[in-house]
Subunit: 228 residues, 2 copies
Amino acid sequence: MSIIMHDLAGADPGLRFSPYCWRARFALAHKGLPVETIPWRFTEKDAIAFSGQPRVPVIRDGDRVVSDSWAIAEYLEEICPTPTLFGGPTGRAHALFVNAWADSVLLSGIARFIVRDLLDIVDPKDRDYFRSSRESRFGATLEQVQAGRDDRLAAFRDTLVPIRLVLRKQPWLGGPAPSYADHIVAGTLMWPRCASPYKLLADDDAVSEWFGRMLDQYGGLGRNAKTP
Amino acid sequence: MSIIMHDLAGADPGLRFSPYCWRARFALAHKGLPVETIPWRFTEKDAIAFSGQPRVPVIRDGDRVVSDSWAIAEYLEEICPTPTLFGGPTGRAHALFVNAWADSVLLSGIARFIVRDLLDIVDPKDRDYFRSSRESRFGATLEQVQAGRDDRLAAFRDTLVPIRLVLRKQPWLGGPAPSYADHIVAGTLMWPRCASPYKLLADDDAVSEWFGRMLDQYGGLGRNAKTP
């Protein structure tokens, strides 16, 4: 039986853009585990109430329910040890730093480039919730947060330096093959890819080249995902 | 026979402040390998010419010579697998991201707070070299680079968020015990500790608490190091 996953969707149910859901999708694909995704919108809290918390991704594997992308990765590593996501406990501990960096520097950096664009793709019933929750978080309107993004692009790209330095020494963040570290960062970059027409990465950036290879992994899972 | 390591020293030969040398010192201590350090100054390129490059740390282990802190860590893991620094190839690959983050964000962030202070502790014969090489790198005088540091302190501390997020979930960057990821970050923080009286970390920061525990590891290796 397939694992079932609640996956954030837009007004178009084929548009899947949650960076956390993408981390889980890549991890599932890495394990070769089939998944059946259920489109979910921000305001459908009732649909995932069974998980005891209000956010996606949530997976249901038989009678096991797991929420939170990190916990899902740990769960998948437990039920299906190979191919490995973490390469053991120390690899998992180190991946947590990549996760923390992506959750803080990368996600909050990207948000300032696409948060107004997101309003155009979320389901109509999510729009008020999306605007008010994000504006409360930023203390500014979505339009103000996103304003002047061209002027801030070079500074954003500078924050990717640690990835570039790693890619000088190895083809993937996981070394010779992708690991969950690659899923974390590529999953995060699926968010702008699937939610906004804005071009965040320069074509000649080593990060773009690596992300292109990630898009082609797992039968083109990322490459074939719908974009706006 | 002990491993011999050329270790950057100040005018006071007991003052050891290189962030890269400290990474190697912690890694050596983690392995329980005795080391004999030789104080080295920036302008003593001839003394390490045998290594084929001009920077410390350089270790000599019998007839093996290894330079570069990362390569030294890999070498130590090879000759002495336990206790592990990386926890396997994927753990090593993930640690490279921590290394890249420390080399870019953390080191260059710290430099702007202590680079003028360094001039007061380097050996007199190193002063002209230190000033001219660093001013050329920054495109500004040491005094200009360090100016206004109090006003920039909060922004610097914000860059430590990824470490704080990790420490919410585990006691060390390496998980339940320190790994080379801890050595990388703690080694980098030994630089300001041993080179400047400036207080970079707030006492109530989880990073301070963790760094305090790192200082006490390995018989207080970090704690007992001379400070200015």
